[in-house]
């Protein structure tokens, strides 16, 4: 019995693995996941990928597929969200107040860098850019960014002590033993971090896919999302 | 009948930045008789291999014509140039060129399998027996000695049932011992072959042992062409300046050499030799080197030299070396060359027309070459 295929942003990997098992444990066919960058997934869906559900790490890529009429617009929801945090290596515990005007450059020292996703295309980088701009630090800090390919890579740079700070999602910070949260960016510093889910066009008439979608976006999944540090949408 | 006429030029660009442009021009025309071996003889670099390549179709000459028994293989004027695979010229290369990944037997059968159904020629077993390679069939070429390798190459070419056999110095890569080993097989093949053979060499002993017809080449041109015996007897060619110059005598074995000396008859006389030329009636060609022939104006006695032939001194010609001359001696209808010093010429007051005795030792002949040259009656 083939379960529905879920194209999901790589940052949802841990939580979705658990949710998939729960779903299967209820006697449903196990869903198949394809984890990759949201951008790659969006493009693949455009090229006819056999995705039944798309779970993006940011809204613009969901907009991209929606504009191309590849999803069932009515199903689009953003049930979970995340917070943006500044992390530091676990052994270097100094809280940082993240407010307008905080002089991050001074904290970085002469050579230190802030590891985060590439603002050009990685969602976490885009949120980081917005937050730093809000703080008035963007111009100063931009040349000091270590632009990673994805959140985990950015996290790794902090864990290994290469960068004294990193800007990642709260979820990633929570499960990494190597880092400690130095501060959380105020919600108003960036647009809300949300994970849009939608049913794709090809799954429009697929009852199983709809059921899974309902499960993942619904109440039953909420404890798991929370366990992995995601915030629930108000 | 093999008609060959070729013109081709290689340009040698010379070293980098050098403006010197030397090259090599081949310009030859000759005809080989429809049976027997035609030797292309000449020094290294005179164009022998180039001719063979053009006949086989492996090189396309700038202009030329090659015809075999009237069938045109190449005619640049008419725009005809058959590819090698449709020329049916069996080639034996200097370096054997056996297929290393195939067994000896598969190598041998390679051409056979691709020969036209109706092509005539010796069968597989026949060729294997002829060349004495039965014990090698299962082996790989890499394990063969040089001599064995060339024998297999001969067999492979022959089994392709060619209309023409081309051999490019098949013995040159072998040392003296191996050459001696393969030469008799070549001779057997010459006798068994029903097609003409073009044989490239720069070794005189191979010409002696094998060639019926000779094309003498130098620097891309034909110096002389004709029956091997005729060419050998000429003193106006570069051949004559070799120390081993001399006539080729076509002989027939007269007496069976059962323990005794072999008596070879030639038109006009007999030679006693220590050769082992086979049964009476066997035909055999021997080189009688001019330097090995002495002349006497009175019949000598009490001398070990066993062949004392009555002859008439026909002509006296220079012999390349300033101190030496060739004497052309008529021995009946045959001609013999003798190389003597000008000193002796004057001492004995030799003049054309004089009757003389030609002295030839019985031990003077080359056993290896003669053995190969012997053809059954």
């Amino acid at each position: 019995q083939e379960g529905p295929t879920v194209f999901a942003a790589a940052s949802l990997t841990d939580a979705l693995r658990v949710l998939g098992q729960q779903w299967a444990a209820r006697g449903n066919p196990a869903p198949r996941f394809s984890f990759a960058a949201s951008s790659a997934l969006a493009r693949q869906i455009e090229q006819g990928a056999p995705a039944d559900l798309f779970m993006s790490a940011d809204e613009p890529w969901m907009d991209y597929v929606q504009q191309r009429n590849l999803i069932v617009t009515a199903t689009r929801v953003s049930p979970i969200g995340n917070a943006l945090v500044l992390v530091a290596p676990a052994n270097d515990a100094r809280p940082v107040a993240l407010a307008r005007g905080t002089d991050l450059l001074a904290l970085l020292g002469p050579n230190g860098r802030i590891a985060t996703g590439d603002p050009a295309h990685v969602p976490v980088g885009r949120y980081a850019q917005a937050a730093l701009t809000w703080m008035g630090q963007w111009d100063a800090v931009a040349p000091r960014l270590a632009r990673a390919d994805n959140v985990r890579a950015a996290l790794l740079l902090v864990e290994r002590g290469e960068a004294p700070f990193g800007i990642v999602y709260a979820t990633d910070a929570a499960i990494s033993p190597g880092v400690r949260v130095a501060g959380t960016f105020p919600a108003e510093s960036h647009t809300a971090i949300t994970y849009p889910f939608a049913l794709t066009r090809r799954a429009e008439g697929n009852a199983r896919a709809r059921a899974l979608f309902a499960f993942l976006a619904g109440l039953e999944a909420q404890p798991v999302w929370q366990r992995f540090g995601f915030r629930l949408a108000q | 009948m093999v008609e060959v006429a070729l013109r081709h030029r290689f340009d040698h660009p010379g070293a980098w930045r050098s403006s010197r442009r030397d090259g090599f021009t081949l310009d030859v025309a000759f005809a080989a008789p429809p049976r027997g071996v035609t030797a292309l003889f000449g020094p290294s670099g005179c164009g022998k291999s180039t001719i063979l390549a053009a006949v086989a179709g492996l090189l396309r000459p700038q202009s030329g014509r090659v015809a075999l028994d009237g069938a045109v293989l190449l005619d640049t004027a008419a725009g005809i140039c058959l590819p090698p695979e449709r020329r049916r010229c069996g080639v034996v290369f200097q370096d054997a060129r056996l297929f290393p990944h195939l067994s000896v037997e598969t190598n041998l059968r390679y051409g056979l399998r691709r020969a036209p159904r109706d092509a005539e020629g010796p069968g597989f077993e026949e060729v294997v027996a002829l060349l004495g390679i039965g014990h090698l069939l299962a082996r790989r070429p890499a394990g063969l000695s040089g001599g064995e390798r060339q024998r297999v190459a001969l067999g492979r070419a022959l089994l392709a049932r060619p209309r023409l056999l081309l051999m490019d110095e098949p013995l040159a890569a072998l040392d003296a011992a191996r050459r001696t080993e393969v030469l008799p097989f070549l001779a057997r093949l010459r006798d068994a072959a029903r097609q003409p053979i073009l044989y490239v060499t720069h070794a005189l002993e191979e010409v002696d042992a094998l060639a019926d017809h000779l094309v003498l080449l130098e620097a891309g041109r034909v110096l002389a062409e004709g029956a091997a015996t005729e060419i050998a007897a000429r003193t106006d060619l570069p051949l004559a300046s070799r120390r081993d110059a001399g006539v080729l005598l076509d002989c027939t074995v007269l007496a069976a050499p059962g323990g005794g000396l072999a008596r070879l008859g030639f038109p006009g006389g007999e030679l006693v030799t220590t050769l082992h030329p086979g049964a009476p009636g066997t035909r055999l060609r021997v080189r009688l080197r001019a330097r090995d022939v002495a002349v006497a104006v009175a019949e000598p006695h009490g001398i070990s030299t066993q062949n004392v032939l009555r002859a008439t001194l026909a002509t006296i010609t220079p012999a390349g070396e300033p101190l030496e001359v060739f004497l052309r001696l008529d021995v009946g209808p045959s001609q013999v060359l003798a190389r003597i010093t000008r000193d002796s010429l004057e001492r004995l007051a030799l003049r054309p027309g004089m009757p003389v005795w030609a002295l030839v030792k019985a031990v003077t002949f080359d056993h290896r070459v003669a053995a190969a040259a012997a053809a059954p009656p």
Partner: protein, 232 residues
């Protein structure tokens, strides 16, 4: 005997072997043809062809995958007719993974095959001609067997590279377990998981072991081959 691997991970190993094998299988014949053209051909666009063959080496794998997606996606200029007329879909299938892998390892295999071909003595081909073998005949019976060491070397390199191909595959066919999730993609997924380093290292170890096995086998084969060709 699970070696501590999840079923999904075993699947990735199997799939990787399948993808690497199929990629080598599909690229071998074109690689031989192109190597032949590059080594023997004398035509104007030879250098350009040479450069094109190197293209997948020069641009990042992700871009290759992206290019493949554009070409072979069901909206692409090749993918659309393939899908509409023959019902063939490459994107998101094992076949597609093999295709992406084949494209990526193509320069490596062509290079090795070409070196093998250049080592073939043209004299032997000439000999075959004089024995009556036409072009295809002599290619199959002489050239091909004699260039086999190069083909073997190319196969091994391509196979090894195929086991590690990542960027082009994930971009072209996505990361679907059992379908397109090869070992490198599984490794990637593991690194995307908290504490996945151990899994990633284990999978990388398996990758390495497979490659070593392939190299060993190739070394043995090469020795046998050299003996066969009398070059021992």
């Amino acid at each position: 005997m699970t070696l501590g691997l999840a079923a999904e991970e075993w699947q990735a190993v199997r799939l990787s072997l399948e993808v690497a094998t199929r990629s080598v299988a599909v690229s071998l014949v074109p690689a031989i043809a192109i190597a032949w053209l590059l080594a023997r051909g004398r035509f104007p666009g030879r250098m350009l062809l040479d450069a094109l063959v190197h293209l997948p080496l020069v641009v990042p794998p992700v871009v290759v995958g992206w290019g493949l997606l554009m070409l072979f996606g069901i909206r692409g200029p090749i993918g659309a007719p393939l899908h509409d007329w023959f019902g063939i879909r490459l994107v998101f299938t094992t076949e597609g993974a093999a295709l992406a892998t084949a494209v990526m390892s193509f320069p490596l295999i062509v290079r090795a095959v070409r070196l093998g071909l250049e080592a073939v003595d043209p004299g032997l081909e000439a000999a075959a001609r004089t024995l009556g073998a036409g072009p295809i005949d002599r290619f199959l019976t002489v050239t091909l067997p004699l260039m086999s060491p190069g083909i073997l070397a190319g196969t091994v390199t391509a196979f090894a590279a195929g086991l590690g191909e990542f960027g082009a595959v994930i971009t072209f066919v996505s990361n679907i377990p059992g379908e397109t999730q090869t070992l490198p993609l599984a490794i990637y997924s593991a690194t995307q998981t908290a504490g996945g380093e151990a899994t990633a290292a284990r999978l990388a170890g398996i990758s390495f072991a497979l490659a070593v096995a392939g190299l060993l086998l190739a070394e043995l084969l090469a020795r046998r081959m050299h003996r066969w060709l009398g070059r021992a």
